[in-house]
Amino acid sequence: MTSISREWLVRKTLMVTAMVVVVGLALVVFFMVKESLPAFRKAGPANLFSATWNPREGRYGMLVFLVGTLTTTAGGLLLGTPLALSLALFLTQVAPRRSRGLFSRAVEVLAGVPSIVLGWLGFTMLVPWIRSVTGSSGSGILAASIILAVMVVPTITAISRDALEAVPSSYAQASLALGATRWQTIFRVILPAARHGILAAVILGMGRAVGETMAVAMVIGPASVFPTSLTSPTHTLTTKILMEMGESTGVQRSSLFAMGLVLLFLAMALVVLVRRVSKARRYEGWVE
């Protein structure tokens, strides 16, 4: 009898620890909503989603930062995805076994580099370099995209590598036995079979890019206006929150939380998207 009740207790305790993620998520959502309510009440959605950020005149528009987030994310994915996909293909299809370890170790190392360290690298090397080449300030969407590309490469590589490895080798064998070359096999059989997994990898990479803060903050600005070029300063949602949260109060502070809420919304949307894709992935065999 005692052993059964202890078993029950243990089970419930473990369930509580498992529920921490659910409660945590609920708390995060709750407090983001709660803290951003004053901004929605006092400034209103039209103001919050306008293009002008000027707290002294009561303008709390986040459009500039939203655009900054989207453009830097797009830029990072544009630069990072080809590299990451090539790496994943290289590691799974091309690399001789001996060099495979070196390359995959290198990707792991890159995944471990703290974002602040990458930001410092961007600030000390990349921005001055862009400045000297273009004659502009150097910081901006271009620099941020390059840094984000470096950050998403390990994520996209790792996940699409898993997807490529999950493709049954019998597909490749059938294709090669029909006289297809290695790359015909890769492009016509292996990549199509892994496409849902690769898509999921890119979406997760996108999530990483949207949420990245420190590395971007050190190379993007600061400026609260639309950039005039790829190398003129601007802000993203994350960097704006980071820069201003310390010294803001009232509606301004609340509007920063509203930006956090938008970020949260973007992140959750991507999670839902990935889950969709993974569900489709289960029917990987059922194509066209």
Partner: protein, 316 residues
């Protein structure tokens, strides 16, 4: 009769998927461009792979080149930080980083492992499991700066902890919980079913089975996951800046004191650098030291798994 030269020579080893480049007259009905395309694609992929390798080398190289000499100076690592003066050290920041990591692990490992055990041993595929899965997926996607301002509101202000190691540890617990949980779950799931069945067949309860059989076997995986998340905690800054602090002069002793982990302090040097004349040297040294710490932790994670495995003698 055509014979190959290498009959009788046994040294040649055929590489995997080797280049398929025939002489022009051998191509037969094959379209001529394909072999060129195949060769070109291979060259391109190698170029990309080498580019990535060069990129990693560049990142590590530049950071270490700029900061390694500073980071390896004892008076820098163990020295007191200075403002308005040159020659400051980072000892309080080093301690803060490790203190914060230890405190966070203390909270996150029991929660993560508990959740993992629940998910793999007890939950099944019910509603609770689906909810937890969704929670973990979503939480792992939340940007760290959002965790930062959440921690600031809830732990720093609402619970009245102020900027403190504990507020940071609680925030980072939430941030790291999904990953710790996932790695622990993978470790637990890799334990063969037959082990469990053997224990259950001897009359063990589920919990006894978990405690005596599953956990010991899963230990190497759990340890690896824990050390890897230690690396992430040490490198985290966005969630730390508004919960723990950016700059301290003295080594923090109590979890209720404010502290300044290295990652956050680099940001401080970048924004408030004017207060420290040699801020560039300090930040470069700190970045290099931080990078080394993270790399060593990653290496340790790899080693730890094999050490723990050898000690327990279990194999998964």
């Amino acid at each position: 009769m055509a014979t190959r030269e290498k009959v009788g020579v046994s040294t040649e080893v055929r590489p995997k998927l080797r280049e398929e480049t025939p002489s022009p007259k051998e191509r037969g009905k094959r379209r001529s461009g394909q072999f060129l395309a195949d060769r070109a694609a291979t060259v391109v992929i190698w170029a990309f792979a080498l580019l990535a390798l060069a990129l990693v080398a560049l990142v590590l190289g530049v950071i270490l080149w700029n900061g390694l000499s500073t980071a390896l100076t004892p008076s820098f690592v163990f020295g007191k930080p200075q403002a308005m003066r040159e020659g400051g050290g980072i000892w309080p920041m080093v301690v803060s980083s490790f203190y914060l990591a230890a405190l966070t692990l203390l909270l996150v490992i029991p929660l993560g492992v508990g959740a993992a055990i629940y998910m793999s041993e007890f939950a099944g595929e019910g509603r609770v499991a689906r909810l937890v899965r969704f929670g973990a997926d979503s939480l792992s996607a939340v940007p760290s700066v959002v965790f930062g301002i959440f921690g600031m509101v809830v732990f720093v202000i609402y619970l009245g902890l102020g900027y403190s190691l504990l507020a940071g540890a609680l925030t980072l617990t939430l941030l790291n919980l999904p990953t710790v949980m996932r790695s622990a779950e993978e470790a637990v799931k890799s334990v063969p079913k037959s082990y469990r069945e053997a224990a259950l067949a001897m009359g063990c309860t589920r919990w006894e089975t978990v405690k005596k059989v599953v956990l010991p076997v899963a230990m190497p995986g759990i340890t690896t996951g824990a050390i890897l998340s230690a690396g992430r905690i040490v490198g985290e800054s966005a969630a730390v800046i508004y919960t723990v602090g950016l700059f301290v002069r003295k080594v923090p002793w109590s979890p209720f004191q404010p502290a300044a982990p290295m990652a956050a302090n680099i940001w401080h040097m970048y924004t408030e650098g004017a207060l420290v004349p040699d801020w560039f040297r300090v930040a470069s040294g700190e970045a290099a030291f931080l990078l080394i710490v993270v790399l060593v932790l990653n290496l340790l994670a790899r080693l730890a798994a094999s050490v723990v495995r050898r000690k327990t003698g279990y194999r998964t």
